[in-house]
Symmetry: C2
Subunit: 372 residues, 2 copies
């Protein structure tokens, strides 16, 4: 646990399950800028941007300029191969696909070293997840012909950048950002800095604006990497990487973040059986009241409701529809049981379709990762 | 600075210039075993062993058994490419050549990552030293046909072992062994553990007894590596590496260790001009007295004399000759001026001959390291 302001409930721990109750405070505390003022200038802005789910950024103006002027920029994100793709990781996936469509040179990283150092998952095991995760991102629309998809453990350039950066990461800084952890954890942070700066190596055409779309709990990695980019500016001419930050989606049990670290009941994977999806959503925590009568009278609280999050973050495309759901929940017209039923149908449709597409991409995923 | 016993003058800092005033205490404090009881069993024991310069070991019995039974064992040592070979590094060189001749599968590591992390020497610069250092070790008798000579930065297997080991090195252990340092320094310690265990990877025929002949200031690396070997025993079947420890040769200025970290006047490199060699030895600190009269009367103190060390560690082959020098110094017959003159002649002969051989090996060294 780290980057903790003891006076508030703001915690930023990229290796944990972060609790964020006040995004405004976060912006002030860590110097994250608000995304909203830029929104009107973003070409083809997406749902996550419009709804303020992407609420913050660092140096996004640089990317915006490249997008508007049709100049080169890169987008990098990735996944830790520790389990199945779920609705929480789906945000990052949508973001990288969006930036690829806007012309970004695309990098997708399978963070198998982090999975090993942080989650103790041996490479033999993470490889299986890596294949499935890559099939997922392809099914979600990533164009593999125009993307560099790689595993950290196989990418010598990333490891070598981490070794270069090691000299510039003091123990004090490592502890301030990540807390007291084992050396492998600090190393995996350096590896991640290597990932983020990989697109700027000469092999990939040299320095360029790079955007990293992530959940706000990953900001410590960005701060570290921006600092390293500056320290090694002379040698590599790095441009400090930009970032967009999305809010964290709540877990089904009401936990702060839908995460593979939480109980299985807390997350919905993209690979779940219809029965499990129905069961998990039916049993999910909501913002509803104890009795129907009470809810009819007082209304529910969508702000604390993971079912509302599912609709809001992902599945209700039209803004007027999500506003309608919000209002009907608030005024007690829409009850939790009914909303859960609707949501189950929408999620099942999506997951069915996703699984159909995904099956076709498994072989391609193997080929990309060089897995027999 | 680390591994310090505050009650005594024993310090073991593999990254510094270590002061060792009491080798007995060192054995007790860190559990290093005495070499002497094994001496009579060692086939073809060498001068360094006979004279107690190699005074300690860990698990050397394992190597002894392999030597006696003509079973497979490996020897690994290396050099940090931060400057020229000097009389201090010459010990390790002689030791690795010795073990190669006794049948050891030989590994020689150019520790360019350590040179970078610890000494801030960029790879472009250390490469030049690496070539010269390899030419030196070849001129000193290492048979390159039967040795694996490599640079850390180019050896993926070593880097990957370091990444594997990262998970098992706690911050507390890292600090206890190496003190509060930057993350790159801890990483380079893990890299060194990777070097030491490299001979036991499947690519090199799997687990085998391995001896690492080093100065006793390197023992912390050995302790760390032996600990890691045990922690990863299940996966790799590592046999804990053995080590032999030699005493540290004094610097010409009277410093505790002849080291590239010390002033240039303190060390004699194998690549020095005759003038410099004469100058440095002539001006060296000795164990002599302030006046000739006093020395004639009281004798000198060879135990604190770097000139005596040069003879004792390297250049006076016959034991009876070194005993003669010792006694003549002690009883005041041999004065410092005279002994310096004799030593200059011996060193010049050696360096001349070495440089002649070395020149012939420069191209081979380039080829081995893949340097254009």
């Amino acid at each position: 646990m780290s980057a903790v302001d003891k006076n508030t409930k703001v915690l930023l721990d990229p290796f944990g399950t972060t609790m964020v109750e006040d995004y405004d405070h976060l912006c002030k505390e860590f110097g994250i800028e608000y995304f909203k003022p830029l929104l009107s200038k973003v070409p083809n802005s997406n749902m996550l941007m419009r709804r303020g789910i992407i609420f913050g950024h660092r140096d996004f103006e640089r990317i915006l300029e490249a997008m508007i002027k049709h100049e080169e920029f890169a987008v990098l994100s990735g996944i830790k191969p520790t389990g199945q793709f779920h609705l929480g990781t789906l945000m990052t996936a949508k973001e990288i696909v969006y930036f690829q469509k806007q012309g970004g040179t695309t990098f997708y990283c399978i963070a198998d070293i982090e999975a090993y150092e942080d989650n103790r998952i041996p490479l033999e095991r993470s490889e299986k997840y890596a294949v499935e995760n890559v099939a997922d991102i392809l099914a979600l629309g990533l164009d593999s012909k125009n993307a560099y998809i790689y595993r950290q453990m196989k990418e010598t350039r990333v490891k070598d950048l981490a070794i270069m950066f090691g000299r510039a990461l003091t123990l004090a800084t490592a502890k301030a950002i990540y807390g007291k952890r084992h050396i492998g954890l600090y190393l995996s942070a350096l590896i991640q800095a290597g990932d983020i700066l990989l697109p700027q190596l000469r092999d990939f055409g040299g320095p360029k604006p790079t955007v990293v779309p992530v959940g706000v709990d990953q900001d410590p990695h960005l701060r570290l990497t921006r600092d390293l980019a500056q320290k090694f500016q002379r040698k590599y001419k790095f441009i400090p990487p930009s970032a967009t930050y999305h809010k964290l989606m709540k877990g089904l049990t009401g936990s702060a973040k839908m995460s593979k670290r939480e109980a299985a009941d807390s997350l919905l994977t993209l690979n779940e059986s219809p029965e499990k999806i129905s069961h998990k959503i039916s049993n999910a925590f909501t913002g509803g009241k104890a009795t129907i009568a009470e809810q009819r009278k007082l209304g529910g609280i969508p702000e604390i409701c993971p079912i509302y999050d599912i609709c809001m973050f992902h599945f209700i495309e039209k803004d007027e529809d999500i506003i309608k759901i919000y209002n009907e929940c608030r005024n007690g017209t829409l009850l939790c049981g009914e909303h859960k039923k609707q949501t189950i149908d929408i999620v099942l449709d999506f997951v069915n379709e996703h699984q159909r597409k995904r099956r076709k991409f498994i072989d391609k995923a193997r080929a990309i990762l060089g897995v027999m």
